[in-house]
């Protein structure tokens, strides 16, 4: 939670990025990536703002659009000139609202805006899209180096990819422990661990070493057959897919209702596999970006996801839908049908908004799913 304050102390430039944009790209330009939705979009008890979307709505965003974007934009806009962000890097092609809200923030607080496009739609035109992503990457590196003084080099990119892959390996290893009989990590802990993929919480070396310590501890719990504190023996195993709620309390709810979380796909796209560490770095990176699960159309994405879900041995799947999300949440039916067909286990959809009450109201729904699994 403290990592959001680190950017104030750094001497490097801070680039606000969208959740699933690979952080090594920003590190390779000598800047610090900042996972804006995570650090500014989580609803925490520290916020005493009555309307957490106020500033974003005043700036022109719709009051009923994605609450993650609304809250994050609102917090940034409320700081006005005090923001530590030096540039807004929007990822265009997946979520319309995020590129629009990035642009709104940039304009209102007077910081540069840059957009890079990752074509997501056309699954059949892989070759066209790969070439396009490569050219987008290369033109971004050239442009930001020449115009804005970011220092990019291929060697640096490769070095940062290696650091990123180290984190990816750790996240995959930790995830594997959740597939065991006695789940050694709680739902909230696992969600927080996964969030480090967003910007490696701004320092891959520090985060890598913390994740390594966590992995060792989990490994030891696993060897002793210990579950994480608070998890009941034989608790139904739940995998979470879709839009994560902004309230951390949601993750405790799974355990409070007698279940155990065996994984979630919130940041899976960033560690679904390692980025090849080849000499033709940008080409390999483009391929990896194109195959990121969230970039693939819903039906294919669900099929790909089921392979990951299956590994975690779940008894049921929860699909999270955020009211106001025009993207992932709209494919709820396609995803539900595919997971049911592929895995043959109960799948339920939840809908929630940004308020704590929304989460409280989910309890009966989650409890009945878990009771049914029992």
């Amino acid at each position: 939670m403290d990592s959001k304050n680190r950017i104030g102390a750094t001497r490097s430039r801070v680039v606000a990025k969208w959740r699933l944009f690979p952080p090594e790209i920003i590190f390779s330009m000598g800047a610090i990536p900042y996972d804006l939705l995570l650090h500014e979009g989580l609803v925490t008890t520290k916020d005493d703002e009555v309307n957490p979307s106020k500033y974003a709505i005043e700036a022109g965003l719709s009051a009923d659009c994605c609450p993650w974007n609304l809250s994050a934009a609102s917090k940034i806009l409320s700081k006005e000139d005090d923001s530590d962000i030096d540039m807004f890097l929007a990822t265009v092609g997946f979520c319309d609202v995020s590129s629009k809200s990035w642009r709104t923030m940039s304009k209102r607080i007077g910081r540069p805006f840059y957009s890079i496009e990752i074509p997501q739609f056309n699954f059949e035109s892989e070759n066209n899209a790969l070439l396009f992503i490569q050219q987008e990457l290369s033109s971004m590196f050239n442009r930001l180096s020449r115009r804005r003084g970011y220092e990019f080099s291929e060697e640096r990119l490769l070095k940062e990819i290696k650091k990123g892959n180290f984190i990816r390996n750790l996240l995959s290893d930790i995830t594997k422990f959740l597939s065991t009989q006695s789940v050694p990590v709680s739902a909230l802990e696992y969600f927080l661990i996964q969030t480090s993929a967003g910007d490696y919480l701004q320092d891959p070396d520090i985060t890598g070493s913390i994740l390594n310590r966590i992995k060792t501890e989990i490994e030891s719990r696993n060897k002793n057959g210990e579950s994480a504190p608070g998890i009941q023996d034989g608790a139904p195993r739940i995998y979470f897919v879709g839009m994560a709620p902004q309230q951390l309390g949601f993750w405790n709810l799974i355990e409070d209702c007698g279940g155990v979380s065996v994984g979630c796909d919130t940041y899976l796209s960033l560690f679904y596999e390692l980025i090849p560490e080849h000499t033709n770095v940008q080409k390999e990176l483009a391929k990896w970006i194109w195959r990121m699960p969230h970039n693939i159309p819903s039906i294919e994405r669900s099929k790909m996801l089921t392979a990951y879900i299956k590994k975690q041995n779940p008894d049921a799947v929860i699909i999270g839908n955020l009211v106001g999300c025009r993207n992932i949440s709209q494919s709820d039916r396609f995803v539900k049908e595919t997971i049911r067909e592929e895995l043959g286990i109960p799948v339920t959809s939840l809908e929630f908004g940004a308020s704590d009450e929304d989460i409280t109201l989910l309890e009966p729904h989650i409890r009945s799913l878990i009771d049914m699994c029992k």
Partner: protein, 379 residues
């Protein structure tokens, strides 16, 4: 022309009997020239405004998805007659919602779905070269798909002929729009808007003949009724305005307003800019379709803004009506900036109307529009 619209099902049935394929598409990034050159019948599917179709779409996407997107799905669910003729569908990768339309058709229909990627950062100096290349490869893929479906080779000769036809249609439609700036003209914006919609559906050769005749008639007859100064001149801009979606238009008219111009994708933007027949025809299509005034899902805000300002100025509009379908965030997020800039450049106010295909908000929408018109009149 209304007769031709009534006869549309018969016309489509006849075409099908004669072996032609009927190909539907949604957004204006799909070149009709390619479809027609494959000897197929293009249908732009702009049906919306019907609550039942919108509600039917909610079986597949959420109620917080834009009503037009819900209708694009719901019209098939409810077996809208036009949809039952379709042999294939083309979907341009535009906004988030359109991606779900494509996914729906792929999963739940048994007709081929041809998707076309549309780069959203196209109009930047740094990206122009590779975005054009990408879009050209996408159109080339569409061309091949159409050739396979119809068994007709799209030759350069055939494509050139059709580009000429569409250029003629576009230029005549622009001339119709020009009539709105003639005080004594007999044609209203609403007439032209209705004609535009017929142009997405009826036989295009016949459509050209019809609008040519209308232009001839307009040259002879001018209205004896001078423009009423009491009617407030409004320009319309925003989300897609569908065929049956007349709620706001009816309220404006009933409240003493008059729409005199638009910058809609189902209106003037569709008829803007011709395809060049000099050099590569595919390059000409790329230039026309990717670099026309972009939809709000595209990143080039300035091009949209300049077009809105120029159109409002040329039409001597006294106010801008910003029509926003609920949950259409791409347009919604730009309202504040457009409002500020239009005020700054032209000194005219804007009104945001957020609505969907339901009669539930008729009262509030009427109150808003009436108050806006009173404000513009200075009452």
């Amino acid at each position: 022309m209304n007769e031709k619209f009534k006869d549309l099902p018969e016309y489509l049935a006849r075409k099908k009997e004669n072996g032609s394929k009927i190909i539907g598409y949604f957004c204006n990034y799909i070149p009709e020239e390619l479809i027609k050159s494959a000897d197929a019948v293009p249908l732009r599917l702009v049906s919306g405004g019907v609550p039942e179709a919108m509600q039917a779409g909610e079986q597949y996407v959420k109620s917080y998805c834009c009503p037009y997107i819900r209708s694009c799905i719901g019209n098939r669910v409810n077996e809208n007659p036009l949809y039952t003729f379709l042999d294939a569908i083309c979907v341009a990768g535009t906004c988030d919602g359109m991606k779900h339309v494509e996914e729906y058709w792929r999963k739940y229909s048994d007709i081929p779905v041809f998707s076309v990627g549309v780069p959203k950062v196209s109009n930047r100096f740094r990206t122009r070269e590779h975005t054009s290349k990408y879009f050209k490869s996408e159109l080339t893929r569409l061309k091949k798909d159409l050739e396979i479906l119809t068994g007709t080779k799209i030759t350069d000769k055939r494509l050139k002929e059709n580009i000429r036809l569409y250029n003629l249609i576009r230029s005549r439609m622009r001339r119709l729009y020009d009539h709105l700036n003639i005080g004594s003209s007999k044609i209203s914006w609403r007439d032209i808007f209705r004609i535009s919609h017929l142009g997405y559906l009826i036989d295009r050769d016949e459509f050209l003949g019809e609008i040519t005749n209308i232009l001839k008639e307009l040259r002879i007859k001018t209205s004896s009724i001078e423009r009423s100064e009491e009617q407030v001149r409004l320009m319309l801009y925003g989300s897609i305005l569908a065929f049956e979606d007349t709620k706001v238009l009816d309220i404006v008219e009933a409240s003493g307003g008059k729409i005199v111009a638009d910058a809609l994708c189902t209106g003037s933007r569709f008829w803007r800019k011709d395809v060049s027949i000099e050099g590569s025809l595919m390059d000409g299509l790329v230039d026309r379709y990717l670099y026309n005034i972009p939809c709000a899902h595209m990143m080039d805000f300035m091009m949209r803004l300049n077009y809105v300002i120029a159109t409002a100025r040329d039409s001597k509009s006294q106010g801008l009506l910003y029509y926003n379908l609920k949950s259409c965030d791409t347009y919604r997020s730009e309202f504040r900036e457009i409002e500020e800039d239009v005020k700054k450049e032209l000194g005219i106010p804007s009104l945001l109307i957020e609505t969907e295909y339901s009669p539930a908000d008729i009262g509030t929408t009427r109150t808003k529009i009436e108050a806006f018109l009173e404000m513009v009149r200075g009452v």
